[in-house]
Symmetry: C2
Subunit: 470 residues, 2 copies
């Protein structure tokens, strides 16, 4: 049958998976799809309908759960006998799927992964043991809404020393991740704020702007980072940037652009810069670049960072440094909010920082990631000039540019078929795409074991049917 | 001088503290307030201007920081010599205040406090030690966006057994507190949703509705809980309720009202009930009341609860159980979101529940809180009929009604003067107040040591100048 017959509308309130589910169910009930017929694979149907495989997965799972189709391992999905359907209880639990996809990934180049071989479990365990103790009864109750003062003191002095950020502990707000802090900042800046966002950029924050119905304006990114001059053509009031290591291109915002950006902010009273400094701990070449917050003279930078890269993503401790003008408003507006970070974790982290273990850990990890990056670079050099690298000055992901006639989606799908997860640059782009440019792949190397890097990269490039340069 | 001269406008975009700060600064600069003059106490000025003491505190702190006034311990605030002001560097850090108020509270009847004497630190420490281990490297990386499956399994079976909640782990979403989960639910239900809220009710959720510019309609509460029939006069589509132990009145939603509420939800396709079951673990009299979610036949209840009362507020683990219809939408809409609860804490809690320690802890704590409540009731009985109790069937707070000619604010202020923190019912009320009713005080007893309860309550009632009934 022709699966293109399905009429899916992207603009209605009914989710796509539900539309698809209804279409297929209808077709089974009215006999358009016969008993025993094999449905197209999720991948194929996703390509046909130009929607995500997850959507197909949801629709198929629902149909399996309701007994319209059956899933046969390694074979596919088959339409069931409708008479048997009558036997299926209406109240049976409908949702049966869990994400099984994970299991089929053997090499994961996700930019969010870190090295897990070198985490100082014994030190962390020691401090946990000290904190989880009867003498610390008070840590069971809620602490300061912005996070425990002792931890904010540690962060404030760390930020000053390592990033040139100038702030008092009073300006710091702890939160359980960017997911939790950004919506607060968006509310704080008010409904009138219009956001300039990097394009390509970080999908989570972009999603938050969209979801809050905040107006956001994509600002292009080139090899010097966000093209700040483009801001002048817009009515943006807040610019969200990742200046130390642009996500996902890896570009570093140039000195000229930095001062342009600050000047832009100083031109009007309501202008702010949100500086997301998510992975600046790891810089491998050249002098460390101080934060924008540190060179700002007029309290216009909201500085945002996290322990996700420097310690572990699963710790869920992020923080924002607010300018003095905003911190008072924050205290008033969010007086009802308790801190979202577990207090014992705050206290363990405080000990870890105060004892010097954090600085030590960062130095160790910087060497490890630098070594990983060197191996990545060396391995990929074999495929030069077909595959080239950019954005390799810091952090734990780089950008690959591939000179090939294959499209980006094809490259991702080819990798996926051999159990390798990579992300295409197009996934991070807002609006129209330049179709004539070479495909680009965001390659996170933090989570790959040092020894596995050459074979993993060779497997990836092999999947793309690219051969070594002789 | 007459401090009523200050013109504060509540409807402008300038925060009140900033207006007040500007007014006082202006008066100092133009000489209306002379050098050496003593400013009124924060309390007095708050009463004069009918604004909160915190607002005054912000304004005074700012003036102190900028050198316009000085704070002299145990004396008050004095206007400084203006010539000296010129010496103060403009760039000196402006924000100097931390919440010192805490220190002056010796007895805290906040409803959010729990008993900290009986927490099983040794068991918690043991499981932490097991989890924080090299073999668990994978726990450093992000886990499932809804929370680790093993913990959701534990919660699902606990909820079924203890609260009659019927759900699969797939319907559960973990989050770092109501602060973090409610905004997600509000977004999920969409901009068209109109919320019925209990009046009086839980200020945090009310604040969230307001802040999201969601329309919310106060629904009155009486001794049987929310007056559900009033919903019919409104165009509300979602009702937010605390049926097991209404916050803050302590009323239990009656059986009749429960079925009324479900019927209301069934009348239209877009209607939902948000059941916030925040402290239902602790019920002291009569049979346990099953959750609304458990008796709902049509997937219209969003169930919300937390470990804040049952374990500790500072753990920051809450959860929502979504109906099947909403969970699919959730998965699509929030695909970018990582779980906000640290993964090691999720794993420790899993062990704690799986080993039976959670059930054991709840049984122990139920006895402790029951004993505390008995002492509270007995102590207050001495002041009957001037002081009476309601809402004492479950949880860790009750409602006091005081037959006095004093206003609620006076009672709170009198308590505060002797270092006792209590909250008045009016703080939880939206809209107009009935001025002729007796003042009511929300009294949390969870955080007071069992042995200290009689003296603490006597101190409170003594502060109110109420004598024992002979």
């Amino acid at each position: 049958m022709d699966y293109l017959m399905f009429q899916l509308e992207k603009d209605t309130h009914t989710p796509l998976y539900e539309q698809l589910y209804n279409e297929i169910k209808g077709a089974i009930i009215d006999g358009t799809i016969k008993e025993g017929a094999k449905l197209p694979s999720k991948k194929k149907l996703a390509e046909y309908l130009a929607i995500s495989q997850t959507t197909i997965e949801f629709a198929y799972s629902q149909l399996v759960a309701e007994g319209f189709i059956s899933s046969e391992a390694r074979k596919g999905f088959y339409v069931q006998n409708l008479e048997e359907l009558a036997l299926i209880e209406k109240e049976s639990p409908v949702i049966v799927m869990e994400e099984k996809e994970m299991d089929t990934i053997s090499i994961d180049f996700s930019p969010g992964k870190i090295d897990t071989e070198s985490f100082p479990f014994s030190v962390w365990r020691k401090y946990s043991k000290e904190i989880i103790n009867d003498v610390n009864k008070d840590f069971l109750q809620l602490g300061h809404p912005q996070g425990d003062y002792v931890l904010r003191q540690q962060i404030s002095s760390y930020l000053y020393q390592s990033r040139g950020v100038k702030c008092t502990p009073e300006q710091i707000i702890l939160g359980s991740g960017t997911e939790q802090l950004m919506p607060l900042i968006i509310r704080l800046l008010g409904k009138e704020a219009i956001y300039g966002i990097e394009n390509p950029g970080y999908p989570l924050t972009h999603h938050l702007f969209l979801d809050d119905k905040q107006k956001s304006i994509p600002i292009p990114v080139d090899s010097e980072g966000a093209v700040v001059s483009k801001l002048d053509d817009t009515n943006a009031t807040v610019m969200y940037v990742t200046p130390s290591h642009q996500f996902p291109t890896g570009a570093v915002l140039s000195a000229t652009r930095r001062s342009q950006l600050l000047s832009w902010a100083y031109q009007q009273d309501n202008r702010y810069i949100i500086e997301d400094d998510y992975d600046s701990e790891f810089r491998y070449t050249g002098r460390p670049i101080p934060s924008l917050q540190g060179i700002d003279q007029n309290q216009r930078v909201i500085y945002l960072s996290t322990f996700s890269k420097s310690l572990m993503p699963s710790l869920r401790i992020a923080y924002a440094v607010l300018p003095e003008s905003l911190i008072m408003q924050y205290k008033q507006k969010f007086s009802y909010y308790a801190a979202t970070v577990p207090r014992m974790d705050q206290q363990i982290l405080t000990k870890f920082m105060d004892s010097g273990h954090f600085a030590k850990h960062l130095n160790k990890m910087r060497k490890i990631y630098k070594r990983k990056l060197e191996i990545v670079t060396k391995t990929i050099a074999n495929f030069n000039p077909i595959v080239t690298i950019s954005g390799e000055q810091s952090g734990m992901h780089i950008l690959l540019t591939i000179r090939t006639c294959k499209r980006e989606e094809e490259l991702i799908a080819l990798a996926r078929q051999t159990g390798i997860r990579v992300y295409g640059l197009r996934e991070y782009i807002t609006g129209d795409l330049e179709n004539d440019s070479d495909p680009q792949i965001v390659l996170g190397f933090g989570g790959i074991d040092t020894n596995d890097i050459p074979s993993s990269i060779n497997a990836l490039i092999n999947a793309w049917e690219i051969r070594k340069t002789p």
